[in-house]
Subunit: 558 residues, 2 copies
């Protein structure tokens, strides 16, 4: 057994466990975690985030996996904790670069296969592990412990190696009545704690929230009570991965004499994956959109995508009366069985206003207890620390405020070592020294821009933001060897003027004047002549608009 | 007295009152209200809204006043209800087009004068009306009734004319302890109701919220309790116009042995206007930033702009450790004495995370009762309807959801006529028929783009959004009369490639090939040749990037 460690060689040693997050720490979404031991790496989750509109034209961002790509021959596998996009959404973009096996429980595996098939991607090698199963990925032995969350089959991983055991919680809560799937495997958690856990890498999303997060069972009862009072069409918007919520809404509809239809593609993918793997077994087949549209209002319940106001989702189309099949009207009700993810408030308000304008009643989780978070509040975190009693607590999956609050809570729970870390921090976990950041590696982001993956801070994207603020312009001038203009000047300005705006004409004259005024030496020097034109045009544009657009000059020497 | 009404002539008649909102109805902010009677128009408020980032490069939007501009000789005046930006912020951009007198109470007048002086604008004729004063603007007689809100001197207007009386509430709440300024003039409200109010045009912001909105007095006590427990520097972020909140924070600091400094320009403008008009009289002069920076942490309280995460505001600069004078560090606390305005959540979270990273404790209105809204909840609306008992209720100042809920509440309060209206709806208010929409006029928006006011939906801005998503490109080709290329081709692409990206080289070849492949007729026709080049280049860009950027071609015929 080698005793050389990461710090000396850049390769994880046999006496240590390395934890290296490349995504998910200090930000929401985009999980990518690496564990290193004895020269090998294990990847846990590979997720995306949806951009908040910061970069126009970019919807999807993900961690830049450059670090592990360079070490892919030492990557023993990817284990997915559960099927949320921020944990598996980047597989379809990045997996062909690794081509090592992917391990997941049946539902997660089925969701991934369906997603990749929909996108026409080659389907990777997915090896199914049963719930509560084990998998040996030398030098690691991984045990799954069943938790509860807002999707079926959320798993904590106990990652064991010669240097100790780390518990990676993934996303979880302690739901006494999760409706779909088994309850939290308390016995396994207690046993793991008794066996000894060196470090717990744990969900921080709700570390600022007191108490307990609540139960899907209560949401089911409240949804059923609410729906029993409604008379027209009822639409329920929720996350398509929340199979328990879908079951609750469907049952509430069925109990009230309503037939249930799913509106939105991802709902079909998720519910089909759920039925395929043994969930939703006592829910009858859903109606087609056409069948639902043909029923009397009081006989229908629609489960819709679009709870976050996403413009292309089903509910947004319905709200702007632009859906191919479904219309809502006076007397109908729309239930938002969801939270508002920060950044989406304006889009959600737009949809709710449009629905109100159609005459619909809009019902949200503000007025009714019809949503519960899938993440642990402080009470649940405390309970977990009491069970696991790790030597080291590493908060992940949250913004800095959440990580900091979580670390404080862990200290209050008598955890000897805690660390608020950032993506790219290489942490050595040892029994002797607790946790130390021993190195920092590149941990950037990639953006899906059109159909290319480009660095999030690429010049092209930064330039596009500048142009989005200021517009841009190109002037073209053909000159002969002496620098005399030999054709009409052309100027194109993007994003500053209307078609009818007469300011454009003056711009051609500005360019012509700049050429005419240049002295003999400047005229013969392409660089100098271009620069004089560029400066004159930019000055004129600034005078006209108060903005400083980037300007390019095409000097064509005939 | 003419009996011809608006519907026949487009001019308000003598038997009717016309209400026409051009801003503030079905949206937040940007109030511009018109009242018409006997051939004349009265304007109430002229506000801006801050763009939510929807249009890159545009911060400020405002109602397009085209309708009243065309009738400005019949405009008898502008009355400002209070000094919030969404009620007077557009004066500096639009007022020179009218040049009719502006009426306001002393604090509002002082704020407007200072704002315009800061911006180097000519200061308009502002005629001060005392609180509870009257002003006759023939054919209207206007009475001010003192209300409470989150700024000094909020006024309801009772607008009387031969056809009846309309109450325009402006923004208000019923605060039993407003701290600064007099309390709601209940007696005047009750008397106005007894005298008879035809229509009430009323604030809808909180029409979805049950109960009462709370009191500045309670916020003062809670702020004082909180601040007494803190040890390092204390920074309080609040709206600069909330003079009561500033007084509460300052007093809490003073009582705990702290000196108080204001950080942020608008705080100086607002507090100076307040002192000038008789408020904040028992608060000692504020320290300068430099004096505050020199004090020991436990002796200083900073009141800061930037509670909404605005990147250029004082608190954002401090959070990213980029403020010229003030630094915060481990052991300091930042109190957000404010709500999160929808759309600002992501920016606020960024600032709070940065402050946490500096080691500051971040305290928000989620955990402590340190903010109260300035708008009436349902309980206060109900109380107002009981006092005023109008024949007609017209909800304004809110999104459609709020207007709709407000109209329902008014009906529950036995108001015979209610109407949810939109900007541009011309409403006739009469005793006989209640309220009817008799016409619809243009009610667009203007955007301040650089230093120009342009239509919000102008081609230039829409093009900029397209370019922000897709980039853009210009190719220049010089050809002779036969269409033979006579100089190097130049291609500029904005916003798609990095400097080092080799894709650019292929683009020149694409253009050259398109020229070379054109047949004789195409080569001689500028339009056809340009279009062949444009299509070829666009196709190539789409193949390279998956995007469809706008492409221009400069064909220079030598």
């Amino acid at each position: 057994m080698s005793v050389s460690g990461y710090q000396e060689t850049g390769v994880p040693g046999s006496e240590e466990i390395i934890f290296l997050p490349l995504g998910g720490t200090g930000e929401i979404g985009m999980n990518l975690n690496l564990y290193g031991h004895a020269g090998k790496w294990l990847m846990v989750d590979l997720g995306i985030s949806f951009d908040d509109g910061h970069i126009p034209g970019v919807d999807v961002i993900m961690p830049d996996p450059a670090f592990i790509e360079e070490r892919r021959r030492d990557l023993v596998g990817l284990v997915l904790t559960h099927a949320h996009e921020d944990h598996l959404g980047a597989v379809q973009y990045l997996w062909e670069d690794y081509d090592c096996p992917i391990y997941a429980t049946p539902f997660t595996a089925e969701v991934l296969r369906r997603k990749m098939a929909e996108n026409g991607e080659a389907i990777p090698r997915i090896i199914e592990i049963p719930m509560s199963g084990h998998v040996a990925l030398d030098p690691f032995d991984i045990e799954l412990i069943t938790l509860t969350h807002s999707i079926p089959e959320p798993n904590a991983l106990i990652i064991r190696c010669a240097a100790g055991a780390v518990m990676h919680t993934g996303d979880w809560k302690l739901d006494p009545d999760p409706i779909v799937g088994p309850n939290t495997d308390e016995a396994a958690l207690i046993k793991a704690g008794e066996d000894g856990i060196l470090a717990m890498v744990c969900d921080s999303t709700n570390a600022l929230n007191p108490g307990w997060s609540g139960s899907e069972g209560d949401v089911r009862d409240n949804l059923a009570d609410l729906i029993s009072t409604l008379e027209g069409r009822v639409a329920v918007a929720c996350f398509s991965s929340n199979i328990a919520r879908i079951e609750s809404a469907a049952k509430a509809g069925l109990e009230n004499g309503r037939h249930v239809a799913l509106i939105g593609r991802s709902l079909h993918r998720m519910t089909e994956a759920a039925r395929e793997t043994g969930y939703l077994q006592d829910i009858p087949p859903f109606l087609s959109e056409e069948e639902a549209a043909a029923l009397p209002p009081e006989r229908v319940l629609l489960i819709c995508t679009g709870s976050q106001g996403e413009p292309r989702a089903a509910l947004s189309r319905i709200a702007r009366d632009d859906h191919q099949t479904i219309s809502l009207e006076e007397g109908d009700a729309v239930i938002f069985s969801s939270r508002e993810i920060p950044g989406n408030e304006v889009g959600i308000a737009r949809v709710q206003n449009q629905l109100t304008e159609l005459g619909c009643r809009v019902i949200t989780a503000r007025e009714h207890e019809i949503h519960t978070s899938g993440h642990p509040n402080r009470g649940e975190l405390t309970q977990m620390y009491q069970w696991i009693r790790p030597q080291i607590a590493i908060p992940v999956h949250g913004e800095i405020r959440h990580l900091t609050a979580h670390a404080e809570l862990a200290r209050e729970c008598q955890v000897p070592h805690t660390l608020v870390s950032f993506n790219g921090d290489v942490m050595r976990l040892t029994k002797e020294d607790g946790v130390q950041v021993i190195d920092e590696v590149y941990a950037g982001r990639l953006a899906l821009d059109g159909d290319r993956l480009v660095p999030y801070d690429s010049e092209g994207i930064r330039e596009r933001r500048r142009v989005a603020w200021n517009g841009c312009a190109v002037a073209s001038v053909a000159v002969d060897g002496k620098g005399q203009q030999v054709a009409n000047v052309e100027v194109t300005v993007f994003g500053l003027f209307d078609q009818t705006d007469r300011d454009r004409d003056g711009l051609v004259q500005t360019v012509e004047r700049a050429v005419a005024r240049a002295n003999g030496r400047t005229r013969k020097d392409d660089g100098q002549l271009s620069e004089s034109i560029r400066v004159a045009l930019r000055r004129e544009l600034q005078a006209l608009t108060g903005k400083r657009p980037p300007v390019s000059v095409h000097l064509l020497r005939v």
